[in-house]
């Protein structure tokens, strides 16, 4: 079954993931244009973009554990998952700047250095930006695989920051981002606990 799944994943084109990954954005645009958002549409736009960015970030972090532990390879899609995450994160920040803060530059600058939830969020965004800029073969060649991999471990720092950004923005202690934080820490722990692929007996599963 593992072999069948891997075979199917090998045939699935990466653009199909992009297509699927942009569905949440299309739905959001649709809801915005048809009045399907709530009483405060700005808040809903910000939140939906932010959440979707986190989902793709966690998905990209799950690629290596999925390969090592389950023997299922999503490797071909990892770059697209990361770039989709960055797409949503970028739109999330843009919606905050344009709609929530209405381009009050002074207020934004003061808040970004002073408010913990914005410090966490913006720090994570800068890291994701660095990862997105270097998400191409040319950068891997130029930096060297070793240095490139080191840089891209930043994803493991950005992800918990994103959940802290979510937790700190709310008045009471919320359950959902705490669950996501636990999932991220579990994925990180699995990378350390399972440093190389588990050999799954049947040779067909090796690839």
């Amino acid at each position: 079954m593992r072999a069948a799944l891997n075979g199917w994943l090998r045939r699935l084109p990466v653009w199909a993931l992009w297509l699927g990954g942009l569905v949440p954005l299309a739905l959001l645009v649709w809801d915005t244009l048809t009045g399907g958002l709530g009483i405060d549409p700005i808040r809903d736009i910000e939140h939906r973009l932010g959440r979707t960015a986190l989902y793709f970030l966690v998905a990209s972090l799950a690629v290596t554990p999925a390969l090592r532990i389950l023997g299922i390879s999503f490797m071909r899609f990892r770059r697209a998952l990361g770039l989709l995450c960055f797409t949503y994160a970028g739109l999330h920040v843009l919606s905050w700047m344009l709609m929530d803060m209405a381009l009050l530059w002074g207020a934004m600058a003061r808040d970004v250095v002073k408010r913990p939830y914005l410090v966490f969020g913006m720090a994570a965004f800068v890291m994701l930006l660095a990862l997105a800029i270097t998400s191409n073969n040319w950068s891997v060649r130029r930096m060297g695989a070793q240095a490139w991999r080191r840089l891209h471990r930043l994803a493991y720092l950005a992800a918990p920051l994103v959940t802290l950004h979510w937790i700190w923005a709310l008045k009471t202690f919320p359950l959902e981002p705490v669950l996501w934080l636990s999932a991220i820490l579990l994925l990180l722990a699995s990378r350390i606990a399972v440093p190389r692929p588990i050999r799954w007996g049947a040779p067909a599963a090796a690839k």
Binding site: I39, D40, D100, A102, T172
Partner: protein, 264 residues
């Protein structure tokens, strides 16, 4: 319900009934802004009584109609500023709290008024989780409670108060952050000690007893300098938050000589 027009009303355009009744912080029904509209229908507000006690001459159980009889109702169109930095304009219908307290007979030693919301987890599902220390409590200094701007509201837009807005009777203190305006009140207690409000007890560094709208004193985690008016559209921008939510002319004297950065 009809209320006499009041000189205390703002001439700003009120938010729509849809906005006012579908964007609520009422954690007794859940933490999402849409939870109260979805879940508050199950709350049974009839019969209802408010226990007025403590340092009063005529303690007892009062019906909502006794506290806010039809012939005493006024319409008060007030700005509402939430501590989360958004705002609305709401056409409340209600009576001044001062009249209610006068009828109960406030004793000379009383200095504060404590309020309490209904605790009924079977109809208020949010109370099944320890989000806050239930029941919700709030308090005012006696002079704040007696101020003519302070009302007990029983209606909205000419109708009885919808459950998600704090039916059947709630406090409205327009110069303070919205959480001070406690909903679905069952207990009013006159006391000589400063009561501790629910948010203050949970996070004293972030929420003080006074909670006056104040653009100069930020919430530790976000700025209070500006606010976003609900209903302003996707590119409606932000407005400057006004000291005491724009009611400074009427209430600033209550706080003369106080350091509002300390007594936030």
């Amino acid at each position: 319900l009809t209320g006499k027009p009041s000189p205390y009303s703002t001439d700003q355009t009120p938010n729509t009934l849809e906005e006012i009744t579908n964007y609520n912080n009422f954690y007794e029904f859940g933490m999402d802004k849409t939870d109260p509209a979805r879940r508050a229908g199950a709350l049974d507000t009839d019969p209802w009584s408010v226990e007025i006690g403590g340092m009063v001459d005529r303690p007892g159980s009062y019906a909502v109609d006794d506290l806010a009889p039809a012939n005493a109702l006024e319409e008060r169109i007030y700005r509402l500023r939430c501590v989360e930095a958004w705002s609305m304009v709401i056409p409340w219908i209600g009576v001044p709290l001062a009249g209610v307290l006068d009828r109960a007979g406030v004793q000379p030693g009383a200095k504060f008024v404590a309020f309490e919301t209904l605790h009924r987890p079977e109809q208020m599902p949010g109370q099944n989780r320890p989000i806050l220390d239930w029941p919700y409590k709030e308090g005012l200094r006696l002079d704040e409670a007696m101020h003519p701007l302070t009302i007990l509201a029983t209606g909205l837009y000419g109708e009885a108060l919808p459950n998600q807005n704090g039916a059947p009777i709630r406090l409205v203190v327009p110069w303070k952050y919205g959480f001070k305006s406690i909903k679905s009140i069952v207990r009013i207690t006159l006391t000589d000690r400063q009561p501790v409000s629910t948010w203050q007890a949970m996070q004293p560094r972030e929420y003080g007893f006074y909670a006056n709208v104040n653009p100069q004193v930020d919430h530790p985690r976000w700025s209070q300098a500006t606010e976003r008016r609900i209903g302003a559209g996707l590119f409606g921008g932000r407005e400057e938050t006004l000291m005491f939510n724009g009611y400074g002319d009427q209430v600033a004297r209550l706080y003369a000589g106080m350091d509002l950065a300390k007594d936030y």
